[in-house]
């Protein structure tokens, strides 16, 4: 293995660690939100600092790779895509942090019926599995798995699209609940954004492996609205 290969490997490792952390933050935010666990929420908020410093450190690693090694061809595409995945992961961490903030903020839990009707649990599950899948896909350079991940985002978009109507209906009936329901809606939006970011990561993997750019092509996407 050459010096450059060793450095690229280290970068991949760092991204993997960040993915593991992001997954853990997201998973904790699911439990914190669904079980209304304020202590767990505090934990998430605390670990957010670690995510931020990891992002800075990976950014610096990528900068050094460019400056010192002038990578070309697939190595260049690799570093570029890892940089973008890096900022995507940091945003996911932000969203988990935001969800934790809601839990800390609320005085009492949200009506579990509302949560169930909106399908929030499923959203969490989908995003968590997408995240795990994309990590595996990067390891194996598995573009078909990446495409599966890419398509899953559509499901999230659909849940999100329906959520606004469902929640509006509940709000009309129960005006007491407006504040918590808005938080619920916001959480749905956040998870939809998380899905978008992971979808972007899938695009980056395909770009890196096949040098094919999927962005803005509307390819593979079945949903047309973002709601």
């Amino acid at each position: 293995m050459t010096h450059l290969d060793a450095e690229l490997d280290q970068l991949r490792q760092a991204i993997h660690e960040m993915m593991v952390l992001a997954h853990s933050q997201l998973e904790k935010s699911k439990r914190a939100f669904l079980s209304f666990d304020k202590d767990l929420a505090q934990e998430i908020i605390h670990y957010e600092k670690r995510m931020n410093s990891m992002e800075l450190s990976i950014d610096r690693d990528c900068e050094n790779l460019f400056a010192l090694f002038q990578p070309v061809a697939s190595d260049l595409r690799f570093v570029i895509s890892m940089m973008k995945i890096n900022s995507g992961l940091e945003r996911i961490g932000d969203y988990a942090d935001g969800i934790a903030d809601y839990v800390v903020d609320l005085k009492k839990s949200i009506d579990p019926e509302a949560i169930k009707v909106v399908n929030l649990g499923e959203m969490f599950d989908i995003t968590l599995s997408m995240l795990t899948d994309i990590d595996v896909a990067i390891d194996n350079k598995d573009t078909s798995l990446a495409r599966i991940v890419y398509k899953k985002d559509a499901e999230l978009n659909e849940i999100n699209a329906n959520a606004s109507n469902i929640i509006r209906d509940i709000m009309v009936k129960d005006t007491d609940q407006i504040r918590p329901l808005m938080f619920l809606f916001s959480t749905v939006r956040k998870l939809e954004r998380v899905g978008d970011h992971i979808k972007n990561m899938a695009e980056e993997l395909i770009f890196y492996t096949e040098a094919e750019v999927l962005k803005h092509k509307g390819k593979l996407s079945t949903s047309k609205q973002k709601g």
Binding site: T2, H3, D39, R50, N64, A67, L68, F69, Q70
Partner: protein
């Protein structure tokens, strides 16, 4: 463990993560100084080739000297093994220290110095003898006669220089029959056989093709675990790839000297930035 304690632990872990990076860098700083130059001025007759340079280089590191042609980097390099002594009109002021000891003093044994500080030149210059004799030369001139010892040292050196596999079947072959890249690795092996602690390299790959260059760069990267290496190079990308520290020379002055990472991402002087981005020189 209670939740509060978990939090405290997490906090501590966070802090440790952040300071780990600076700690590692500080350890690198604390490596001992292998080579030191103070108040160096070099003249060729009346012409001043080097103007007042100070520099310290730590052991087990690679330092690259970069700069435009004629800036004095090769002259400065050759101070460390006193090869400038043979140039007409050479004179110098200041001190050069190896392991803390001055090397420009009256009673110095120059031959001993050069056994500790080896040199590899720009154009591969193997002796017109066999591969074995080339690598064994340094031992021969020291008076070593033990054939087994010599054979063992030759093999070790050729392995270190990543050439053993290619030549082990016929060490009696003439060194001049090897390709350019192989000849240069032979020159490196010949230097390593003497077991120096410092290796000076004066543009070692500028006469070679890209593949040989890449092989030798990998070799340098491995060698720095045991040796202190100083390399003059015209190729800035090479400097960025393999060196830990970079020194930028211009018209006989040392403009900037620091960690390669910093020089190539955020140099302190504009001239350095212009040079490495190819805007002049």
């Amino acid at each position: 463990m209670a939740k509060e304690d978990e939090m405290v632990v997490a906090e501590v872990v966070n802090k440790i993560q952040e300071s780990m990076i600076t700690l590692v860098e500080d350890v690198v700083e604390a490596k001992e100084t292998k080579l030191e130059a103070s108040n160096i001025e070099v003249f060729y007759g009346h012409f001043q080739a080097i103007k007042n340079i100070q520099m310290k280089m730590p052991s087990n590191s690679v330092t690259a000297f970069i700069g435009p042609s004629g800036c004095g980097k090769s002259t400065f390099l050759r101070l460390f093994n006193r090869m400038n002594d043979y140039v007409d009109g050479f004179s110098m002021k200041g001190e050069i220290k190896l392991n803390g000891e001055k090397i420009y003093r009256n009673k110095i044994n120059v031959e001993e110095l050069r056994k500790e500080v080896g040199m590899v030149f720009q154009k591969p210059n193997p002796f017109p003898k066999s591969i074995f004799e080339n690598v064994a030369y340094g031992l021969k001139i020291q008076g070593i006669k033990d054939k087994k010892l010599i054979a063992a040292r030759v093999e070790t050196a050729l392995k270190q220089a990543d050439l053993w596999e290619e030549v082990k079947d016929d060490l009696k072959k003439s060194a001049l029959a090897l390709s350019g890249g192989q000849q240069q690795r032979l020159c490196i092996a010949r230097t390593l056989a003497v077991e120096p602690s410092v290796i000076l390299m004066d543009e070692p790959t500028s006469a070679l093709d890209p593949i040989s260059t890449a092989k030798i760069e990998e070799l340098i990267f491995q060698l720095k675990e045991k040796y202190t290496i100083v390399i003059v190079t015209h190729n800035m990308q090479q400097a960025s790839r393999i060196s830990d520290y970079t020194a930028f020379f211009y018209m006989g002055e040392l403009i900037e000297h620091g960690k390669t990472k910093e020089i190539f991402t955020n140099p302190k002087h504009e001239r350095t930035e212009n040079y490495i981005s190819g805007r002049f020189g």
